[in-house]
Symmetry: C2
Subunit: 332 residues, 2 copies
């Protein structure tokens, strides 16, 4: 059942070393012996055991992708981009997810121990609420690591994230300049969300640059769920905003449903804009104007960055901060 290199060697009347060389094309092997070995390999369907290769080469050709979930509209795209690049370089993707129920400490313990056990050659980590201390601990492991989704300050680590600020800024610019709205409400995400904070910053700066005074009472704290969008709708209506800019599509959907329930005409009486461009945002009624996030590119860049680190012997390579642009999607 399990044929090893040793047996191939015996059958071919050569040593293991020669079989290894023949298979890898390393070192010298005479033509005839090579043919004979390759013939036997084919006949017996021999495939080297990757566990042995991994050990002796001390690398696994595997990179971990660590993220909060695999469902929902984003992560699938990230995974796809990631896997796409890794597969091209003959690397494998080890997936690790953590659900938000799990205590943060446990989550980090899990992925740190994964990395320390050297089961993977590197890791891309998408841990939206990670703290600086953890990041430091992780990079001190001396492994190729890239953090996704957040700009981590004060720590030397490769990061890849989305330009939330400019995405938000340009959406506001659109609402103000193209549609002429002045009174625009903003629904934030949860307090600890870096993404949300950046989007709020874009909102503020755009107002300022357009000479509209920032009114804190038009900023509503949501939590990225549809439900919170619904809840905030009433308050927006009470404040008589002309447009609502929701910091994600999910809440925008909540707003739309609630408005429709109340008989308010979305897009006429009040305008809605979202952020994310999740895949259903073009299917809802009316289609949602939103900011597209290049999740697929994020996955690809993460993979490229990691491979770059793995293949670079230059240990002291300067960490990079890769910012990917968003794109305004105008629909309604």
């Amino acid at each position: 059942m399990k044929i090893t290199m040793k047996e191939i060697a015996k059958m071919a009347g050569v040593s293991k070393s020669t079989v290894s060389r023949a298979l890898n094309g390393s070192g010298y092997v005479s033509g005839e012996k090579k043919d004979e070995i390759l013939k036997l390999v084919k006949i017996h369907n021999y495939v080297p055991d990757s566990k042995a290769i991994n050990l002796s080469k001390s690398r696994t050709m595997t990179v971990a992708l660590i993220l909060p979930s695999t469902s929902g509209p984003f992560y699938g795209e990230v995974i796809r981009g990631f896997e796409e690049i890794l597969a091209m370089e003959r690397y494998f993707t080890l997936l690790m997810t953590f659900d938000s129920q799990e205590p943060p400490q446990k989550i980090r313990e899990r992925y740190i121990s994964l990395i320390r056990s050297k089961r993977v050659d590197g890791a891309a980590i998408f841990d939206p609420e990670v703290d600086g201390e953890t990041v430091k601990e992780v990079i001190n492991l001396g492994f190729p690591i890239v953090y996704i989704g957040e700009s981590i300050n004060g720590v030397s680590v490769d990061t890849i994230f989305i330009d939330n600020f400019n995405g938000s800024y340009s959406m506001m610019d659109h609402l103000i300049k193209v549609h002429g709205y002045n009174r625009i409400g903003f629904i934030t995400g949860p307090a600890n969300s870096f993404d949300s904070a950046e989007r709020l910053r874009g909102y503020k700066y755009s107002l300022e640059d357009n000479h509209i005074e920032f009114n804190p009472s038009l900023v509503y704290r949501g939590d990225f769920t549809k439900e919170s969008g619904k809840i905030m709708t009433d308050r927006c209506l009470a404040d008589r905003v002309e447009a609502i800019f929701s910091s994600n599509d999910e809440m925008a959907l909540g707003v739309i449903e609630e408005l429709q329930r109340k008989g308010v005409k979305v897009g006429k009486d009040i305008a809605i804009a979202g952020f994310d461009d999740v895949f259903w945002s073009k299917y809802i009624h009316p289609p949602l104007t939103t900011v597209h996030q290049p999740m697929h590119s994020i996955g690809k860049m993460a993979a490229k960055t990691i491979l770059d680190r793995i293949n670079s012997n230059d240990v002291v390579k300067t960490p990079m901060r890769i910012v990917l642009s968003t794109r305004l999607i105008v629909r309604n």
Copy 2:
């Protein structure tokens, strides 16, 4: 940088064997030595190299999940269910995807070689258009394998799939018995789709059981894309059907959009039903009546089945066919 068991042993003044036993709790180790070893392990942050463990135990604690993609509404759910179960048993998930561009032969070559290289202890394969020959080849590798998404005939292999037939049957039953429709059009998927074929079968049997004659001219060949839904709409209208049952939600959406463009009242002049219950099907206007597919459960069952095979020393265990029920979602 890299501390090994040997060095821990030397520092503790014991042999590797003792360290190994202390760490794994196997065999006898005296209390004091154990404490001393554990102390050193903690101090030096020692974590055994999983590559070495893998080799000597000849298992990897890793299971492959092989599927066509990671994006879209389905696969994320499958992955989530799969990973969820594996993580609980301290197994890892190795993800492998293939895009539809790639020639089928290459795809299979890739995953067969993955399995043969013994990089994983088992694999769940979601390969919708796999042929019987390939499946035979795969199971002859003697590895724990489960095929997802399709009932494979004549081959002894664990399979997990959705009850497309009954899902379709009960939708038809609903349309006929509850709404009293007699003239129902059916839009199929592509010719090679097993799912689509089963749904068509459900359509036919339900007609038969309800004493309505099957009319082949009311079956329209689509290809699961929204576009093909649009295209078929005209023909449905020409044939003056009372209801259209689309074999997936995507095409149903195409139909709805096309009907609305033509000014036909969806739900009044003509009824539409879909299949899949994708995320957005409840958000479109009007909300779509459809058949829910338990993708999350599929992932979970696949993982459980694989783990079961891995942990069972009973080699000749009878293959299982696990059929997961669909659920009718009535919305409009």
